[in-house]
């Protein structure tokens, strides 16, 4: 294992973290082979988190768009998003390594809530870094984290969003590396994090593949997922990557595709190094990381997981954008047609399918509904002209 997906990935971190990353890699490979650890993880997923999640045939939405759409209901997982798959897994791994303290970053707060939840369950001290801007726009999740016993630290530097939160979590980790596990929530960061996150999220793809075969007797034509860092997408893609199934990652087009107004890293970026990995990156001509924007805090990030960069360059997956307004349209349409309020992140995947309905004609499509949207009501409310 060299820690690369093609030419993407690596370990671009301060030297202080190298030994810990080596230990983490070693522990992760032992953890995967450990039958007791594996059973414990599966038991928590089933009896605590509520797996498996349904693959729901969205009949009303299908009638509306004119082709069959299934929703992989990660919004029904405990805490309301796919993030818990990874946090339960990584906290068990941290315990396996003898660590007693967890630090995490969060954007939309879903990973923070999932981290605080698994920490409460498994008796870990939990510190979550969150940008000031995100604390304001995702306030319900801040309250949930606090209630769950996490120490939420407001980051008032830089962009005050997910990127700044990762910077602070990394700084904390460098300082407390002996006692602390950094629980990265997305498929980003230095090796072995992208592998670890994919491993724990791959349950989404495994289930979805089995479920669609049961329900339709065949594989889907397309699998669509939103991509910020890319954890829910890599999780569902992993179930279909060896099949002849189109994989589509939907990035946040924000307000427009002018640099600074979107978070469409794979669509508009070029390779660069941020947060420990070489991957596509939104940056200026001098390698300074660009300001980005998305209406959804979970997608408001200038980087992307290295495996997605590899999937893009190798043309195994396609990446495209959904703009803020189109995502909000997806949010509303799904709420009204199916009685499911999706997270603004997942609404990008829904919005993409709506706007490309001609392209999907006669196709069988799975959309990964990565989270629920209760946390986003404040944002929707505050957007001018939106009368929910």
């Amino acid at each position: 294992m060299n820690g690369y997906f093609g030419s993407y990935g690596g370990q671009f971190v301060p030297e202080t973290l190298i030994k810990t990353l080596r230990e983490l890699e070693d522990a992760f490979f032992r953890f995967k082979k450990d039958k007791i650890a594996k059973k414990e993880f599966e038991d928590y997923l089933k009896n605590y988190a509520g797996r498996e999640t349904p693959l729901y045939y969205a009949k009303n939405l299908s009638d509306y768009v004119g082709f069959k759409v299934y929703l992989k209901r990660e919004d029904l997982l405990h805490t309301g998003a796919h993030k818990l798959n990874n946090t339960l897994g990584q906290i068990l791994l941290a315990k396996f390594m003898g660590k007693n303290r967890i630090v995490a970053e969060t954007g939309a707060g879903q990973h923070g809530v999932a981290t605080a939840t698994a920490s409460a369950l498994l008796g870990m001290e939990c510190v979550v870094y969150m940008g000031k801007k995100d604390m304001e726009r995702q306030e319900p999740n801040v309250k949930r984290m606090k209630l769950l016993g996490a120490n939420v630290i407001k980051v008032e530097k830089g962009s005050m969003t997910l990127k700044s939160a990762i910077n602070e979590a990394l700084r904390d980790w460098v300082k407390n590396v002996k006692t602390t596990h950094y629980l990265l929530g997305s498929a980003v960061g230095p090796h072995p994090f992208p592998l670890i996150v994919k491993y724990f999220q791959s349950v989404i793809g495994k289930e979805a593949r089995k479920q669609i075969l049961n329900q339709e007797g065949r594989l889907p034509d397309s699998v669509v997922a939103c991509v910020g860092g890319g954890s829910n997408a890599i999780g569902i893609f992993s179930g279909f990557v060896k099949d002849n199934v189109e994989l589509i990652g939907v990035e946040a087009g924000g307000e427009s595709l002018e640099l600074g107004k979107h978070s469409a890293t794979l669509t508009k970026g070029r390779p660069g190094i941020l947060h420990g990995a070489l991957s596509y990156l939104l940056q200026d001509d001098y390698g300074q990381v660009a300001r980005v924007h998305s209406v959804s805090a979970g997608l408001d990030y200038p980087g992307v997981g290295p495996e997605h960069s590899y999937l893009k360059d190798s043309e195994r997956a396609k990446y495209d954008v959904c703009f803020d307004g189109e995502a909000i349209e997806g949010f509303k349409v799904l709420s009204r047609l199916e009685g499911i309020i999706p997270a603004l992140e997942s609404s990008h995947a829904v919005g993409y399918v709506l706007k490309n309905r001609d392209r999907f004609k006669d196709k069988l499509v799975i959309v990964n509904l990565s989270g629920r949207g209760d946390k986003d009501l404040g944002i929707i409310d505050s957007l001018e002209g939106n009368n929910v």
């Binding site: 671009f12 971190v13 202080t16 190298i18 460098v174 190094i273 200026d284 001509d285």
Partner: protein, 234 residues
């Protein structure tokens, strides 16, 4: 003879004061200078240097830093290094970056550990710029052996687990790692992170070949007390 290096953020707090600080360093015969090329996400740095970097990036880019480096080279007669982050090099183009900083003796990349150093080493060595490696309290003997074998210039020994601007604690673990690093190594082992004053320098120099001061120098420069600060170190 214990060496003293000073780290300055390029063009902070502004071009004039920065160049004046370089002249002060030349006058006091500081042994080497590290010029920080700011990065938008400096995860190895504490508040003082991060704020300085953000400040400079509001108005300047790498072209300005390269121009200033040449001016520094004209003023400062001893060893000169550039310190930055991997994407400032990679995003600009490694070869172009190496060529543009040819007047420096070496390059220090805060988020480039030994395991990833190969791809960067080549372009810099082509232009006679040595890549500086880090050793930390987390480094194993095997890590240190590899770094001893491949270092063509000093080794930057990070004194602590943490970011720049912390407090130096010379505990037994650190002392024994410094001792191991120095053993059979004919280049300098320079201790950085947490060095603030004359007492720190004296203590650190019992176990290393020299020190580098960053955050405290940057803070004093911003407070218009740079000259007195440098004077107080002797």
């Amino acid at each position: 003879m214990c060496k003293l290096g000073i780290y300055l953020v390029c063009d902070y707090p502004n071009r004039e004061k920065f160049l004046e600080a370089v002249r002060v360093c030349e006058d006091f015969k500081i042994d080497f200078l590290e010029i920080g090329f700011p990065f938008s996400d400096p995860v190895a740095d504490g508040d003082a240097i991060e704020q300085a970097a953000f400040d400079v990036l509001q108005r300047e880019n790498t072209n300005d830093f390269v121009d200033r480096l040449k001016e520094v080279r004209a003023i400062f007669s001893k060893k000169l290094y550039v310190m930055t982050y991997a994407n400032v090099v990679f995003g600009y183009g490694s070869d172009r970056f190496a060529k543009d900083i040819e007047c420096a003796d070496g390059i220090i990349i805060a988020d480039l550990p030994y395991v990833e150093s190969k791809r960067f080493k080549k372009p810099f060595e082509k232009y006679g710029v040595n890549l500086i490696h880090f050793v930390t309290p987390e480094s194993t003997k095997e890590d240190m052996d590899k770094i001893k074998n491949s270092s063509k210039d000093f080794v930057y020994f990070v004194s602590m687990r943490g970011t720049t601007g912390g407090r130096l604690v010379l505990d037994d673990e650190l002392k024994s790692k410094l001792e191991y690093m120095k053993f059979g190594f004919n280049k300098d082992v320079i201790l950085g992170f947490g060095i603030k004053d004359k007492i720190d320098i004296k203590n650190a120099c019992e176990y290393s070949d020299g020190v580098v001061i960053g955050s405290e120098a940057v803070r004093n420069l911003n407070n218009n007390s740079f000259y007195n600060y440098i004077e107080s170190l002797f």
